[in-house]
Amino acid sequence: MKATVENIKEIIVEADVLGDVEEMKSDVALSEQGIDSLDVVNVYLLIEEKFDVQIPDEDIDQVKTIDNIVEYVNNKLV
């Protein structure tokens, strides 16, 4: 399964971290859209589990936005 903006948003909903995910912008950092430091860790874990990829601590700067995450995950899945 490839990552898309939609399924990353579904994961954010599953993480139970934000009221209206539909309003989220895919090119703005999660941290600037109401997802705090604990919530974002939960989102990353769910992404790791859903796509069976690892996001090491040193790569965190590469997954700040939903667009970043989609690109990062799909590169890992290649």
């Binding site: 139970d16 705090d36 604990l38 860790v41 939960n42 790791e48 601590d57």
Partner: protein
């Protein structure tokens, strides 16, 4: 049969407010109350040591029950902040409580998982050596190792201690234990001079490992969620407790959370909750404690009347 007869705890009166750190660590009330779940954390006096906290827990135990000191034949302290490197803190506690010479004393070096390991150890040790009255202490004053500038640890941990009285005719007995370790991740919570914690790694560990092993323990004992009245989880943070509960798909009413006013007291966290549950109506409890090591331990406790009926 040996089991838990009573529990008492001690929390220092001195409390540090996390609301006073909002500016320093860029916090809001929601984060303090609903994510960390610690409004205040207890801080012992600088001249108090781990053994002093044990003694104060024991003094609180004496307010609950009469104990003939001369009958205590086992004394264990769970701590990773002992009074000294040498000797073991349990020997110091033994001296301060003026226990009899014919009393076995040893420490257990474990962090957050320590109470479950300690419970298994004291029950097995007492049973195999025909001992009758034991004291299991937890006392790990993290104020001695916390970095005041570290947001990851400064907001969470509090000082405190507990003592569990183990003897015949108990309130609860242990039905089954489960233990585990992921030693390759030992660096994720480490203290060289000051405490370091990789919050993300610890969260991932607890969210993925703990629900799996709790479910495995239930399955091994042919129990379902409805057979467990309360899940007493290590109070790492509210976020961690909530995450494990959601992953277990357990109702919020079955998972007590109670660290708002004193913080994460490491190995004392689980017995502090258990103390409040001892005289409730619960027939069967599941305790799970996890953290440093990375280490975990779970136990199913059954009220002794239930146990008799089963037989």
């Amino acid at each position: 049969m040996l089991g838990i007869k009573e529990i008492a705890s001690y929390l220092p009166e001195n409390k540090i407010s996390n609301y006073d750190k909002k500016e320093k660590f860029d916090l809001d009330d929601d984060f303090i109350e609903n994510k960390i779940g610690v409004k205040f954390h207890c801080r012992k006096n600088d001249d108090e040591k781990s053994s002093d906290l044990c003694v104060k827990a024991f003094q609180n135990l004496l307010k609950k029950m009469t104990i003939d000191i001369s009958t205590i034949d086992c004394c264990i302290v769970v701590t990773q902040n002992p009074d000294y490197n040498i000797p073991h803190t349990s020997a110091i506690v033994h001296g301060k409580l003026e226990l009899e010479n014919e009393c076995a004393c040893f420490d257990i070096s474990l962090g957050c998982s320590g109470y479950v390991y300690g419970l298994s150890n004291i029950l097995a040790f007492m049973q195999s050596n025909n001992l009758k009255n034991g004291l299991l202490f937890t006392s790990d004053p993290y104020s001695e190792i916390i970095d005041d500038e570290d947001k990851n640890t400064n907001l969470i941990f509090g000082d405190g201690s507990t003592v569990t009285y183990i003897g015949e005719d108990p309130l609860y007995v242990a039905k089954d234990f489960s233990f585990g370790t992921n030693g390759k991740s030992y660096k994720e919570i480490l203290c060289d001079e000051k405490l370091y914690m990789n919050g993300r790694a610890v969260f991932n560990f607890t969210a993925t490992t703990i629900p799996k092993y709790i479910q495995k323990l239930l399955k091994k004992n042919d129990l379902q969620d409805e057979d467990i009245d309360k899940y007493i989880l290590h109070q790492g943070s509210k976020y961690i407790v909530d995450t494990i509960r959601k992953r277990l798909k357990v109702d919020v009413s079955k998972v007590p959370f109670d660290m708002y006013d004193y913080g994460n007291t490491i190995s004392s966290a689980v017995p502090m909750i258990l103390e409040k549950e001892l005289y409730n109506d619960s027939s069967r409890l599941l305790l799970s404690a996890y953290g440093i090591g990375l280490s975990w331990g779970s136990v199913i406790l059954e009220k002794i009347n239930l146990n008799k009926e089963d037989k």
